[in-house]
């Protein structure tokens, strides 16, 4: 191996190392620039509207019942938004600590869409299902509480479909069906038996 070839190889290796270091610094600078940018994602408008009295149907794991409780919350005029705020108030009771029916702290209702005259589609956060306690009874209580609260406060709504992060899901946490539409009458029958 002659001397000039050795020098050329050494220069190339040095160039590779310098380029690598330069690229690394560029990447780090770009990351810190992006992190320092203000968050421009849209945020929901604050809920406005007169306080209204709504009935929440709260689940109690022990002794395994769903009880009605009246609360006062600010409700917007749009029926879908009203449904969302009512369910958020309901889920808010479950994410408190302690709660009679604990759900993960990040569980929430993202949206409620009204389809036609009688159907509501509830979109929940991923953690609502992922972190939900697993068990037939506990999952049934959650669904009965959600469906009853919604159908009792939104006149005309008799069918409820529940999505998780915008997608259909087989079960809530391994047991309760999330592929079906929940009918207000059959849920009422379940609540009757729980009383």
């Amino acid at each position: 191996m002659n001397r000039s070839f050795t020098i050329a190889t050494g220069c190339l290796l040095a160039a590779v190392l310098v380029m690598g270091a330069y690229l690394f610094s560029l990447r780090r600078n770009e990351q810190s620039r992006v992190q320092s940018l203000p968050d421009r994602r849209p945020i929901p408008a604050p809920v406005t509207g007169p306080p209204s009295r709504v009935t929440l149907y709260l689940a109690y794991d022990d002794p395994g019942v769903v009880r009605a409780e009246t609360v006062s919350i600010a409700l917007p005029p749009d029926p879908g938004e009203r449904g969302r705020e009512i369910l958020r108030a309901l889920v808010g009771e479950y994410v408190k600590r302690p709660s009679a029916h604990e759900l993960p702290a990040t569980a929430d209702v993202k949206d409620v869409f009204l389809v036609g005259t009688d159907t509501a589609v509830v979109d929940t956060t991923e953690s609502f299902a992922e972190g939900h306690p697993s068990g037939v009874f506990v999952e049934t209580l959650t669904l009965a509480s959600l469906v009853k609260t919604l159908t009792a406060n939104l006149p005309g709504v008799t069918r409820v479909k529940i999505l998780v992060d915008g997608k259909e899901r087989e079960t809530l946490a391994g047991h309760a069906d999330l592929e079906c539409f929940y009918d207000a009458v059959t849920v009422e029958q379940l609540l009757e038996q729980l009383r």
């Binding site: 794991d61 022990d62 395994g64 306690p133 697993s134 068990g135 037939v136 009874f137 506990v138 049934t140 669904l143 259909e168 087989e170 079960t171 946490a173 391994g174 047991h175 309760a176 069906d177 592929e179 079906c180 929940y182 009918d183 009458v185 059959t186 849920v187 029958q189 379940l190 038996q193 729980l194």
Partner: protein
């Protein structure tokens, strides 16, 4: 095409593919009347296990054999299979004929088989293994595949009377009784009935011969009569009275369980066909119960405690329940009998393809106490007579039958002093089952969550549920 239609067509295609695969599996593995069984009789529990053949030898699952006696767990790591039973440890290697139990080397009469993480040992090795692990005396009746632990055994004597013959047993018995011209057969699956004399010739004008035999995990007493005969129990179920049947007793073959409601001696020879005080279970082919232990494989279900997964608890309970049901002469299929993944809809498809009479989805939970029995959250009014049932509402036609059965299960649980509750719930996949369908959720018996997996507790629940199926069978069959 709208997204809802695309979703529906994709789901229909998936279901059709699943159904086809399941039908093929069922055709290949459908249980037959010739299924081999081993019965094990202990001082507190009697149960039956399936026996499988591997290279000309009979094998049985060691974990299942030990389950009724305490906490047992097992797991495979490569070719090695380790089992923990109470404070004992056993280790076997796939295809090896030597294992280790509590540090002691044990020779097996054939190689150890690892099948879907289930450890199978040659049947002939089981008496030695159970004797060692339970520290008890064993007596194996190889020809009849019956294993007796701790010196248990129910003996009987004959007592000739003027108008019949009494069979007196040393313990209460619960045989399956069937009649056919000239013969009365009593089949003992759960009773440790033994006899030294295999042929008895009583001096009796009614009975000419009594034979005792053991076969396929059960004992059979056949009473050959000179006249048509009828069997009835005394209140303590320790005596079976053989009496002549009435003149019109030339009846077709009838099967009767010994599970009769008995306040005192049942009325003598009231009728044949079936006497009204005995529950007739006249053989109707196809009364099959499907047990569906929830979760399995990748789906562990609820984490009941740091070490207790729902999938394991449900499987152990399903095996106990299977044993109880088979003890009542009821055919059982299981959606899984190992730690394998089975899809939720696939479970309903198996039930529907097998045209089972009763489907039981088994679950476990850490919340609450006792047992909760669920039926589908569906309106029975939506049922319409049709050749094909809609998948999403297949249960609608059967939900009244399911609710009746749930009520019976709750009542039987009460008789066994187990707290029970019954109500509708949206449990997957009850809506898709075209049969009486229940979900049974076992909760702990005490504040200690691990009590949900206790052998004695599960055994009591299994006994109650099996008795409920026997009681509710007539109703279920009437509405099929």
């Amino acid at each position: 095409m709208p997204w809802t239609e695309r979703l529906a067509s994709a789901r229909s295609a998936a279901r059709a593919a699943a159904m086809a695969a399941i039908l093929l599996c069922l055709l290949a593995s459908a249980p037959s009347a010739e299924d081999k069984l081993l019965s094990i009789y202990g001082p507190r529990v009697s149960y039956s296990l399936p026996v499988s053949d591997h290279e000309g030898q009979e094998y049985v699952a060691l974990l299942e054999a030990l389950e009724p006696f305490g906490n047992v767990t097992a797991g495979a790591a490569g070719a090695r299979w380790k089992l923990h039973f109470n404070h004992l440890e056993a280790e076997f290697r796939q295809n090896a004929s030597i294992g280790k139990v509590a540090g002691q080397r044990i020779g097996l009469p054939g190689p150890f088989v690892l099948e879907n993480d289930r450890g199978l040992v040659p049947l002939r090795a089981l008496p030695t293994l159970l004797g060692l692990m339970l520290a008890t005396k064993t007596d194996y009746h190889e020809a009849g595949r019956r294993l007796f632990l701790g010196g248990v055994g129910t003996r009987f004597t004959t007592d000739v009377r003027e108008n019949g013959l009494n069979l007196n047993f040393t313990a209460a018995v619960n045989p399956l009784i069937s009649t056919e011209p000239g013969k009365l057969k009593m089949s003992f699956t759960r009773d440790a009935v033994v006899s030294n004399s295999y042929i008895l010739r009583p001096e009796n004008p009614l009975v000419s011969l009594i034979t005792f035999s053991e076969n396929n995990g059960k004992a059979e007493l056949v009473v050959a009569g000179r006249v048509p005969l009828l069997a009835q129990f005394t209140a303590d179920r320790r005596t079976i009275e053989i009496v002549p049947a009435p003149a019109q007793a030339q009846a077709p073959p009838t099967v009767v369980t010994g599970n009769a409601p008995s306040a005192a001696t049942l009325p003598a020879a009231v009728a044949v066909p079936p006497p009204p005080t005995l529950q007739s279970l006249t053989a109707r082919p196809g009364f099959v119960v499907m047990l569906d232990p929830g979760h399995g494989g990748e789906d562990r279900g609820a984490l009941l405690s740091d070490t207790l997964e729902e999938k394991g608890v449900t499987l152990a309970f399903a095996r106990r329940l299977r044993s109880e049901l088979q003890g009542h002469g009821i055919s059982v299929i299981m959606s899984r009998d190992a730690d394998v993944t089975v899809g939720v809809e696939q479970r309903a498809a198996i039930a529907d393809a097998a045209r089972v009479a009763v489907y039981l989805s088994l679950h476990a939970a850490s919340q609450g106490r006792g047992v909760r029995v669920y039926t589908a959250l569906i309106n029975s009014a939506s049922a319409k007579p049709a050749s094909f049932l809609p998948w999403d509402t297949a249960q609608a036609r059967y939900v009244l039958s399911s609710r009746a059965l749930a009520g019976i299960v709750k009542a039987e649980l009460g008789k066994h002093e187990i707290p029970g509750a019954e109500f509708p719930a949206p449990v997957k996949p009850l809506n898709n089952v075209a049969a009486a369908a229940l979900a049974i959720e076992v909760a702990p018996s005490s504040a200690d969550v691990s009590s949900v997996s206790a052998g004695g507790y599960q055994q009591r629940i299994a006994a109650a549920v099996a008795e409920a199926i026997v009681v509710g069978r007539t109703r279920v069959e009437a509405e099929r």
